[in-house]
Symmetry: C2
Subunit: 183 residues, 2 copies
């Protein structure tokens, strides 16, 4: 079959995201990704140059937070948790970062950037204590990433069984407190 370059790239990229999300960086081989995509392994190299650049492309999606400054302070935490749950289940980007950030330095760096850099301004804007914002953002990240780790990666049964809204109700209050919002 004959495809355009951009078509092939898109097909390979989709397969790469699934593999990276499922197996991590090292175990997701070019050959396996190519087989999933139904293309020749050489094509993967031709389109992306190297495994590193393929990986960079696979987790280069924007991951912007919604505008939380307009929402009532009592609903900021639940909105935040709900947003991350939705993101986690709608595409594999966060799965990839969590699964590979443990052994891949580039993914870990990106994880730090995504979570801290985006949460620090939110934490700073919500409380009267801008100096404590980095710590607050770190604690929020810890709570959300820990939930994702247990629910999506380790697949701890009672965590998998929870509905999305049950997760929001369960960890929302802790996130609320970490953000420095009084009840």
């Amino acid at each position: 079959m004959r495809r355009s370059s951009s078509e092939t790239k898109a097909i390979v990229l989709a397969a790469a995201r699934e593999r990276f999300a499922a197996d991590g960086y090292e175990r997701a081989t070019i050959r396996a990704i190519a087989a999933d995509a139904g293309v020749d392994p050489g094509q993967v190299m031709r389109c992306f140059g190297s495994k590193d650049r393929l990986f960079a492309a696979a987790c280069a999606i924007d991951l912007n937070l919604p505008d939380l400054l307009g929402t009532p302070s009592g609903e900021v935490a639940t909105a935040l948790v709900r947003h991350f749950l939705e993101r986690w289940e709608s595409d594999e980007t966060l799965q990839i970062l969590l699964r590979t950030g443990v052994t891949n330095a580039a993914a870990a760096e990106r994880m730090r950037t995504v979570f801290v850099a985006q949460l620090v301004p939110v934490a700073a804007a919500l409380t009267g204590d801008p100096g404590g914002a980095p710590v607050r953002a770190g604690l929020v990240s810890a709570q959300i990433l820990g939930m994702a780790l247990c629910r999506y990666v380790l697949a701890i049964p009672p965590m998998v069984a929870l509905t999305r809204e049950e997760v929001v109700e369960a960890i929302g209050p802790a996130v609320h407190r970490y953000l420095g919002l009084e009840s």
Copy 2:
């Protein structure tokens, strides 16, 4: 040099723990472990048979919780967090499980066992709601593992900078609530 078999095993095992904890399963090679231990790569195979069995030996340490049933309910959560922090920083066992459980099925299974099986009885004994114990144990696991992920693996700066007691103060209340203990 000439050593007894058990001596060599112990030396290799110590090096293997550090490598698995630092690099994860795939990137921790037999050769690197042998080099760290100052022995021949062939010796590692001779003593442990395969990389899989070496890995199994490296994370086969008991990880028992302290007896929390005697402590006042107001201090259970902080004692729990303090215990895990101490365990995390005293040896590499938990580091290994967290770093490898993301891509290695055996490590993930062991992680589930360690955390859930040990926390469920605690949660069940502390509250009058034994049916909710698995979920409570899962939420506690999520909070503690998320903290460890951000502090020890992703090395998010503000989380690394916290002292051990500051971590206890920060996430203790959330753990307290997840355990079903009223304030």
